[in-house]
Symmetry: C2
Subunit: 206 residues, 2 copies
DNA sequence: TTGGCATGTTACCAGGTAGTATAGACGCTA
DNA sequence: TAGCGTCTATACTACCTGGTAACATGCCAA
């Protein structure tokens, strides 16, 4: 994947940029884990800094505000979902096949660090600007899902009463996974996700 | 319903108790609305007090802590859900009929003030003791739902792969309603709930 | 009348945390 | 060697808000 054959300790040039990006990522990962474990407000940047063996001003060297950190966490989660959804949309098969793929990919992201941030973050935790971008990204994903559902309805592989409500119902159920699924529990993520998606596709009736 | 023909402004005796209870309820209602609009942490008790034309110590005359206020809000929501669920469980009809009733009742509560509190409150916002009670109440409701699903599976009116996952999927989708349903939107609560429950029961496949 | 309970108020404290000012250390470049 | 940009720490401020102490008022019961 990477051809970084640094044979010299003098990394030089753009290696600096790579390190900076890596440190940004480290801050985000750690922050996301704290947010998920304790909640956004209950997490102080001193906590995050301490976990990374640095101090708070160091974090402010990489991010402008706590709000930016939370937003970047959710943006990564939403980007992951959107990417997976686009991939699924481009696959072959019926609308139903692609919807199943899309829901499965969505679920896999939503139970990971950044995905949990997405599911748990509420608008009013972000600044007005970040909140607007956050909602815009979510709307984009919603559009992708509705499109696949519509295609499924058109090709007869899905049966839909209300496009909007169907999409919200599906994403709502998957977001719920972020709140109750426990990786340390009895069932693996794959098993839980497979069963959840099957429940949504098949419904409760025989 | 009430035979309180107070012909005198001196209410006396147990009327005091009723007033006290009414004031407690008023605090909870107002607090719940603030929590839902701005979030728990972003709502100060001064805000709530001001909206009620009193001051903060007055609120502390009725509640011991902010934690207690949040917990009582969620408790009311959960009690409403549990009550509705028990009613539905006692109705006649197949398991599928009763499940549909139960989900519909659940949804009606979850889009109201206290229900939104339930859906949005996360464990770490409550004290350890309140959190434990909160989870216990939720577990109880989960048990009611699983029981009806199991009965539906037994009488053949439902088809279930995994009881636990099915219950979580259903409640997750309904909890999502609290986050996106807008009473001022184009569709009424009844319509949205009916379509959501139908989607869950029937699934996406034809 | 007197004491006690319920209800409120004004004024205040304490703790925690986002964010900053300042200065030092390191490595690269000229 | 001089100097610049990057990165980090110490020490601090500002502010908000949960919670409390002390006091005022009025109703009720003995």
């Amino acid at each position: 994947m990477e051809q970084t054959a640094d044979a010299t300790p003098w990394a030089g040039r753009d290696a600096r940029a790579r390190e900076r990006a890596a440190k940004r990522e480290a801050v985000l990962r750690t922050a996301a884990q704290f947010f998920n474990a304790r909640g956004f407000h209950a997490t102080s940047l001193d906590d995050v800094a301490a976990a990374l063996n640095v101090t708070k001003p160091t974090i402010y060297h990489y991010f402008a505000s706590k709000d930016e950190i939370l937003f970047e966490c959710t943006r990564r989660g939403l980007d992951n979902i959107a990417g997976a959804a686009r991939d699924a949309a481009l696959r072959g098969g019926s609308g139903a096949d692609r919807l199943r793929q899309m829901l499965t990919a969505y679920a896999h992201v939503i139970v990971a660090d950044y995905g949990i941030c997405v599911a748990r973050t509420q608008d009013h935790q972000l600044s007005p600007e970040s909140s607007a971008r956050f909602r815009a990204l979510k709307r984009e994903i919603d559009g992708l899902i509705r499109q696949v559902i519509a295609e499924g309805a058109a090709d007869g592989s899905l049966e839909v009463r209300d496009l909007r409500i169907a999409a919200f119902t599906l994403t709502g159920a998957l977001n719920g996974l972020a709140n109750w699924f426990d990786p340390a529990g009895p069932a693996s993520a794959d098993q839980v996700i497979e069963a959840t998606v099957a429940t949504l596709m098949d419904g409760m009736l025989p």
